[in-house]
């Protein structure tokens, strides 16, 4: 099925990046360009995207980029938008960080910037592990997933960044998946109109860490949503809105079995039943919380 996006050029991504084939981060970056337009300054923290942009002094992103140390993205963006304000420039500042940079090493500065309600958009491209260093577990890796540092499957659940960020009471929090580009772009456009701290966590299924065929990235991104493993929601001014693609998750009976999402990934190849149940409970709890909020 065509999404109606083919052929649409995005100036956020110039030809010739160093991304792997089927890279979900490249997909997300293209959508950012389509939704936010040109007037963007970006802070990229350590991760695949520090590499994807290619070798300096040239850059394959169509944005001015400040590459920065792992834990410093939200802080640098705080200084950046304040500088633009002093220079009377209306620029959308965007932080681009992976799940490790967000859930683990960069969490203090993320939380600090959220508490101060800094005026920028924070994008967490969540591929659920440290993919740039070869696929080690992060705080965002889900239960049972095999990574290079959890060869026996991760024992703990994925850190609930969505709820943690909601608890910061910032003006805008959303989740998205590269499997549903229109939903993501709508959210980016809405976020652009909001003042203050905005957080969007984008599920970016990684063919190399999740072990599926690189041609299937979008499909896996969809399966995550269809099986309700990954919610598509948006919280603005305290109001929760569940995207159409996720509405069926509000009732347990209408959810597609989680197995359909897990079985296409190599990292869940040998998942014991007990861990499967744990994951199912994780999804049930997730939706119970979302329902209780709406």
């Amino acid at each position: 099925m065509s999404l109606g996006l083919r052929g649409l050029r995005s100036e956020s991504l110039l030809p010739g990046t160093s991304a792997c084939p089927g890279c979900p981060e490249n997909m997300a970056m293209r959508m950012v360009g389509m939704a936010l337009g040109k007037n963007v300054a970006m802070v990229v923290v350590a991760g695949c995207s520090s590499v994807i942009q290619g070798i300096g002094p040239k850059n394959a992103y169509g944005y001015p980029v400040l590459n920065i140390a792992f834990a410093a993205g939200p802080a640098a963006a705080s200084g950046m938008w304040r500088a633009f304000k002093q220079r009377n420039k209306d620029v959308t500042v965007v932080v681009w960080a992976g799940d490790g940079g967000t859930a683990d090493i960069g969490f203090a500065s993320l939380s600090g910037a959220a508490e101060r309600n800094e005026d920028f958009i924070y994008l967490c491209v969540d591929n659920e592990a440290y993919m740039n260093s070869g696929g080690q577990r992060s705080g965002s890796t889900p239960h049972g997933a095999v990574t290079t540092t959890t060869p026996e499957g991760k024992k703990e659940n994925k850190k609930e960044l969505l709820f943690i960020m909601l608890d910061h009471n910032v003006p805008y929090v959303a989740t998205a998946s590269v499997g549903y580009p229109h939903d993501l772009m709508d959210k980016l456009k809405r976020a652009k109109e909001v003042n203050g701290f905005r957080y969007i966590q984008i599920l970016t299924p990684d063919p190399y860490g999740w072990l599926f065929d690189p041609s299937k990235t979008a499909e896996v991104g969809k399966l995550a949503v269809q099986t309700c493993y990954w919610p598509l929601i948006e919280v603005m001014n305290g109001k929760v809105r569940v995207s159409n693609e996720s509405l069926h998750c509000l009732k347990k009976e209408t959810r597609r079995p989680l197995k359909d999402f897990l079985s296409v990934q190599g990292r869940y190849k040998k998942l014991p039943e007990r861990d499967y149940l744990e994951l199912e409970k994780f999804v049930d709890d997730l939706w119970e919380r979302i329902i209780s909020m709406s």
């Binding site: 410093a72 705080s78 950046m80 101060r116």
Partner: protein, 398 residues
């Protein structure tokens, strides 16, 4: 205008006079009153500086760097553990060649906890790629901070600059300080210049992966900019004398009664004044000694040092810092510049106070040793009243 203020107040005034755009701040003793003062200035409406109260020193430098590369003048201050926590970003700022000014109110580094003065925190950043000056009075803290904006934003430099001052001894002690007028400072510090600005209009990017040879070239360019900044520093110093008639910044470092001296003492920071008094007294007793005060750790003024100290019979370097297992960093630097005998004395760590008499004793004993021709290269000096202190040795595991 003369005013009785502390070193920290002097620094805050310099930030105000330099019309800094963004300050990223996090409290740590003994730097804290700098940021409190700035916050109050902001609350009183005296400055339009955006004061960002962040959640850590790592973020303080992150905010400062983000603002600096986006085109505004930026400042931060820290101490001790805070500087160490910020260390990664200190390097990131240097590698980005972002003009930034930072003040370090020096303090010992734990463990164990110790809030008193020592210069090890400051000295441990000397490989990071910043220009590094060290004040010996609240006046100098103000002067050097103002000059730091000029120096770091000079197109021949474009490297961040930090100014050190002894925690509590300068940061919290009030003395008479000459404060230049706003008009004079405006004339002295031109609007911010920098080689590249993150801006959708210019599309500059910074910091992505470099090929090895480009990386090495960049490192060399920072090295050369720092090494070559000596002329800029002297030039800025001479110009500064126009806005502070009492100032003398023609040279990087400062000489005291050195010309006719056989022996030289090298110091840095606040205790230099005690050491100078000791020199006066020793001279009264017929000991031919002078003093050399290091004001710039980076760039290292090898030319000035050779000229001032190269012909001395002996040079005694006092360090309020250590490279543990070796000697004091200042001693190592001085020794590397000279061929004549150099002795290092580690003293005053973690707030152990050194008065004039202690300096007299340490200097005269060192000179005696050097005269005899056999001297310990590095000694740890304890003032007479604490000499008997002993630390229990850790018990063996077996």
């Amino acid at each position: 205008m003369m005013k009785i203020i502390s070193g920290n107040e002097a620094v805050a005034l310099a930030v105000k006079l330099a019309r800094v755009g963004v300050v990223g701040i996090y409290p740590i003793t003994p730097q804290t009153t700098i940021i409190e003062e700035l916050a109050e200035m902001r609350a009183r409406g005296e400055i339009s500086t955006d004061v960002v109260r962040v959640e850590s020193e790592h973020s303080a430098m992150g905010v400062t760097l983000g603002a600096a590369v986006s085109g505004v003048r930026a400042f931060t201050a820290t101490s001790s553990q805070g500087l160490l926590y910020m260390h990664e970003m200190v390097w990131w700022a240097a590698g980005s060649r972002a003009p930034i000014v930072m003040v370090v109110a020096t303090r010992a580094v734990g463990a164990p906890w110790n809030i008193w003065n020592e210069n090890t925190d400051f000295m441990s950043e000397r490989d990071s790629g910043w220009i590094m000056a060290f004040a010996s009075s609240p006046q100098e803290a103000l002067d050097l901070t103002l000059q730091a904006f000029r120096i770091s934003e000079d197109p021949r430099v474009f490297v961040p600059m930090m100014v050190g001052m002894d925690g509590f001894i300068l940061s919290h002690t009030k003395t008479n300080v000459y404060i230049p007028s706003q008009e004079d400072v405006d004339a002295f510090i031109p609007p911010r210049r920098q080689p590249y600005v993150i801006d959708p209009e210019t599309q500059e990017s910074m910091g992505n992966i470099f090929q090895p040879v480009h990386y090495m070239k960049l490192r060399q360019s920072i090295n050369d900019a720092i090494a070559d900044s000596k002329d800029v520093i002297r030039e800025v110093g001479r110009e500064y004398e126009k806005i502070n008639p009492l100032a003398d910044y023609k040279t990087l470092n400062v000489e005291y009664k050195l010309e006719d001296a056989d022996y030289a003492v090298v110091t840095m920071g606040a205790w230099s004044l005690d050491a100078m008094e000791a020199v006066d007294r020793l001279r009264e007793r017929g000991i031919s000694v002078g003093l050399y005060r290091v004001r710039y750790v980076r760039p290292w003024a090898e030319d000035e040092i050779l000229r001032a100290l190269g012909d001395k019979k002996g040079v005694i370097v006092f360090d309020r810092a250590t490279s543990l297992g070796r000697g004091g960093p200042l001693y190592l630097e001085v020794k590397a510049s000279l061929n004549n005998p150099v002795k290092g004395v580690v003293a005053g760590l973690g707030g152990v106070s050194m008065n004039k008499r202690d300096f007299m004793e340490a200097i005269s004993t060192s000179i005696e040793e050097m005269k005899r021709g056999s001297f310990r290269e590095v000694t740890w000096y304890y003032p007479s009243e604490v000499k008997e202190v002993e630390l229990g040795t850790p018990r063996s595991a077996i």
